[in-house]
Structure formats: C-alpha cells, structure tokens
C-alpha cells in the first residue's frame, strides 16, 4: 500500500496526479476463504480490516452486491456521538468513539473526523429530566456529557431561536463536546484500502443468493459469480439483513424502513456544531463544503425502495425552520433515502445464530454510522474467536425471547 503523506502529494503533483496507486484491487473470487463478510458497507469493511489487522486473519472476502459504501454508509447524516443511556449501549458506542479519535492515523486516510460537539435539545420539563438522567449515566460511564440551560445553548448556537416565543421553546440541552461528524465515504474507502492492503479480497457486484449449510454449520455462500466456500460467515447487510436471514432459515426481529435525508445548497460557515431535537424531530449540521445536512425520522411503513414519502421531508424541514427561522429561505439541493433495519429496542444485534459459523451484525437502525469502527472491531473479535466479544455479548438475538432488552428509545428513539 502506498502511504499517503504531504510529501507524496508534492511528488505526485509532478506527474499531474496521474499515477496514484488504485486504493484497492478488483480480484477474482477464490474457491474458499476463512471468513466471508456479506455486505461491503462501513461496518463490513471495518470488520474485515480489524480481522486482518488485529487477528491476523487475512484470507477474508467482503462480498458486496453493489459498490462499496453505496448503502447507508453513503446515505446517513454522519453524526458521531456516544451519549447513550444504558451501560451496554454506552460501552459499545464509547468503544467506537475512542477508535474514531485515532482512526485517520490508524488508516492513513483522512476520515475528516471533526469533534465539533453535539447538542440534544430539550423542549419540555420531561425532556430536561430525561437529559439530566442520561447525562448522569454518561458521566458514571466516563463519557463526557453536560447539561446546558437555554442560555448556554444560545451561546453555543447564536442563530437558533431559543426565545420563549418559539412554539416549542428550548429549555436546555445535553452537550457532548467530543461528539461530531466524519466524512462517510472516506470511512468506507479508508477501511477498504486498509483491508485490501492486508490481503482481504473485496468482491463488488457480487450478490449472495443463498447459504451453503451442512449439518447445521455454514460452509459457504452461493453468489451470482459461483459458490464460495467459507468456515465463518458474518452478515453485515443493514436493511437487507432480514432477506439474508430468511435464506439461512433464521428469524430476525427487524423491520426495514425508509429513512430520508437532505442537503441544502452550500452556505458560508454558519453552524459549527451538530443540533438534534427529538421533540421537534429533526437534526442538522453543516458540512465542510458548506451545505446543511438535515435528517429526521423514518417513514413509518416498511420499504426496501431507498425512497420515502414527500410528507416526511416536509415535516423534517418544518422542524428545522422551527429551530432555525434563519434557514427558512435556504434551498434544498438533494434528497435521498436509505433502508434502515430498525430493532424493537433501538439497539443493534451482534449475534451468533442457530447455524454454526454464521453471525449477524445488524439492527443498527437509524444510528449505525457512529458505531462503524467499534462495531467492526468487536464483530471481528467475535468472528475470530467464534464467540461474542464481551462488549457485543448483550446484543444477542436471544434478548428478544429472554426479555433482556437494552431499551435505548429514550436516547435514540428519533434522532441519530
């Protein structure tokens, strides 16, 4: 792998930047791998990267039916935070946050992780009580978190309407300074480049059409490019996880919904943090390019079409204009949808299954991007050892039958 550096940039300038090495190969599938990862999004690529880097397992294939990071990795609003209520979820997301903090160096790839802080607004007394509780829980778990009053919020975000005349006046917020945003495509590409350099085969435009299961043990996958053998298979397919699970005869408690997001025309710097509100139901940040990145809730119906209803977009923008009247005349540039695999308790599933050697990493719902490195890290450890990593263990599929849910709707129900 050609390392990137300032010196390299100068060197390649001399040849008009025409001789950069390809970031990853486009290999022909082998007959057999030690581990196959189904799904070439951020989480799948991170899993492959950490398998190779931390566990020395390099005979790995990542199978992706479309192109790398073309699903939810490229469709989210790139918010990274770890201020979750319950110990299990906080451990997982904080593990991820710590990896984010060194990720650009680790990958030798600028993922543009910008710790500009995240505000979660409270608009009612109950919101503020929940925020107090969550902030206290965060601090006990060693996660930076503060409660701000309306004045504190106004100082951080002068353009927001924090007046008492607002329809849903801002009463305060929780504030996590270490949270922020990252460049989503770079995350997928950085992990892909790092994994490829360590020998992982990334097979794009290869669709898994079934699993080869022998005596209750997975031995490979069927694809549109022929059968590929494997000792261990990890499925990291977000919205399409349920479809894969059905092929293996496994039930998952997931529902796949459309989630829409949109960006505005580029503006001069005006918003230097991330603002989220569960109550008026929207979240917003400004990208380095200058466009406002806006999202809100899912469309309520099931959908695999990567698009949703216009009325949901309208409600999203109503919420944004409610908080930021100054943006009322900003024009929106693009709008898109992804398929999110929502779980009944708003927490992911990282789990072994009734089929030996077949693992699932799914159910991240509307908030998977922030967990990309952490999810890959603990899932890789689980695949390497054949048993779930301690951080991943509470997120098994069994919890929906035992009742040991990790109910994060309070911290995560709407906004991610």
């Amino acid at each position: 792998m050609q390392r990137y550096s300032g010196f390299g940039l100068v060197k390649h300038a001399l040849s008009h930047h025409e001789n950069w090495q390809r970031q990853w190969r486009n290999p022909t599938p082998k007959k057999e791998y030690d581990v196959i990862i189904v799904g070439g999004g951020g989480h799948g690529l991170a899993t492959a990267y950490y398998l190779a880097k931390e566990h020395g397992i390099t005979n790995v294939a990542v199978i992706e039916k479309g192109w790398l990071g073309g699903g939810n990795t490229a469709r989210n609003t790139t918010i990274v935070r770890s201020n979750y209520l319950w110990d299990e979820a906080a451990a997982l997301y904080e593990h991820s946050m710590k990896l984010w903090e060194g990720l650009s160096q680790d990958l030798n790839y600028n993922v543009m992780f910008s710790q500009r802080g995240v505000l979660n607004l409270g608009h009612t007394l109950q919101d503020m009580r929940d925020i107090q509780r969550r902030v206290n829980a965060n601090r006990l778990n060693g996660i930076d978190s503060e409660v701000l009053d309306a004045k504190g919020v106004q100082e951080l975000v002068p353009i927001m309407d924090c007046s008492k005349n607002a329809r849903y006046p801002v009463m305060g917020a929780s504030w996590q300074p270490r949270a922020g945003v990252a460049r989503h495509d770079a995350v997928a590409w950085g992990f892909a480049r790092g994994a490829d350099a360590r020998g992982v085969d990334i097979l794009q435009q290869t669709e898994v059409t079934g699993f080869k299961i022998l005596d209750g043990r997975v031995v490979g996958v069927h694809t549109n490019r022929g059968d590929i053998g494997a000792k261990t298979v990890g499925c990291v397919a977000a919205g399409n996880s349920g479809v894969l699970a059905k092929m293996a005869g496994i039930k998952l408690p997931l529902e796949s919904h459309p989630l829409q997001a949109l960006v505005s025309e580029p503006l001069k710097p005006i918003l230097d943090t991330v603002v989220m509100s569960n109550h008026v139901h929207g979240y917003i940040s400004q990208s380095d390019k200058g466009d406002l990145v806006i999202g809100a809730g899912i469309d309520g119906y099931l959908g695999y079409g990567q698009r949703g209803s216009y009325s949901t977009v309208e409600h999203t923008l109503q919420a944004i204009v409610e908080m930021f009247p100054i943006f009322s005349r900003v024009r929106m540039n693009r709008q898109w949808g992804g398929i999110v695999d929502t779980c009944p308790d708003a927490c992911p599933i990282l789990s072994a299954t009734s089929v030996k050697g077949l693992f699932f990493n799914c159910g991240w719902g509307t908030g998977g991007f922030k967990a990309t490195p952490g999810s890959g890290h603990v899932f890789a450890a689980s695949l390497a050892k054949g048993e779930m990593h301690p951080i991943a263990a509470p997120f098994s599929i069994d919890r929906f039958n035992t009742g040991a849910l990790v109910d994060e709707h309070g911290a995560a129900g709407v906004a991610h």
């Binding site: 022909t28 992706e64 039916k65 479309g66 192109w67 073309g70 699903g71 794009q204 435009q205 669709e207 059409t209 069927h222 549109n224 490019r225 022929g226 059968d227 919205g239 399409n240 349920g242 479809v243 039930k251 998952l252 408690p253 997931l254 529902e255 796949s256 309520g300 119906y301 099931l302 959908g303 695999y304 079409g305 990567q306 698009r307 209803s309 216009y310 009325s311 398929i339 009944p344 929906f400 039958n401 035992t402 009742g403």
Partner: protein, 134 residues
C-alpha cells in the same frame, strides 16, 4: 406519496391522513400466561419484514379512525389492494404475477429503484444466469 383507498370511507385519500401500524394478521396468543418465552417473544417482536408483498395494518387516523389492511409491495411501494378488518387478502406473494422480479436486486428490471449498483455487465444483470463468472 401514497394515495390510499380507505375501504370504510370508500374513497381515495392522501397518505397524511393515515398511519402505518405494522404487519397485519398477527394473532395475540389466546392464553399469554401459558406462552413459552420463545412464543411470547416471537409474538411481541419478530416480524416477516419481506422484500416483496406485505400485508400491513393502517389506520385512517384523521378520517374515519378505523383500522384496515393494505397489501403493498415493499420495493415498488405499489398498493395492490386494501381490505377491511377480518377479511383475508386476495393478492399474496404466492399468486402475484411476475414474482421473479421481486427477489434479487439485480433481477429488478425497470420500474423501481435498486439497491446498490447495477453492474455494467449484461451477464450479471440476467437473473437466470446464476453462477456466471464475469
């Protein structure tokens, strides 16, 4: 944006008048106390979540406020039929014509959006060509 026919009001109305309420035809166990953890968990949390024909419950929230069922395709979003509570669907995944078009992403031909790339190679686009090496 859906234009939904309410079988009780007997007219088409805008989507915003309705709320989706998840999978239809889920029976509450007759005796919940007698359920195993497995059966109770399945009833509460596990859903079909199909990529294709889906029978779902909707409520005409700001209209007649009645619940009814919709059969809808979850990729094309096409509403195939609506029917009253207590009735059974006439269109199902088994009897929908052209159902080969629902399965794989790359088998989707025109009409609806696909997930991920559509490969440039014709051979890969051909759903019947399973196992082709390109």
């Amino acid at each position: 944006m859906f234009h939904i026919y309410c079988p009780y009001c007997e007219e088409h109305r805008e989507e915003e008048e309705f709320h989706p309420k998840g999978q239809a035809h889920i029976q509450r166990p007759e005796d919940p106390e007698a359920c195993s953890d497995e059966a109770w968990g399945d009833y509460l949390f596990f859903r079909d979540n199909p990529r294709g024909v889906h029978h779902e419950l909707w409520v005409h929230a700001v209209g007649c406020r009645k619940f009814f069922n919709i059969t809808r395709h979850t990729v094309s979003y096409e509403i195939l039929e609506t029917y009253k509570m207590g009735e059974q669907p006439t269109i199902t995944a088994q009897n929908l014509p052209g159902k080969d078009k629902q399965s794989g992403v790359q088998a989707a031909s025109g009409g609806w959006q696909t997930v991920g790339a559509r490969p440039e190679s014709e051979a890969l686009n051909d759903a019947s060509n399973q196992g082709a090496r390109v």
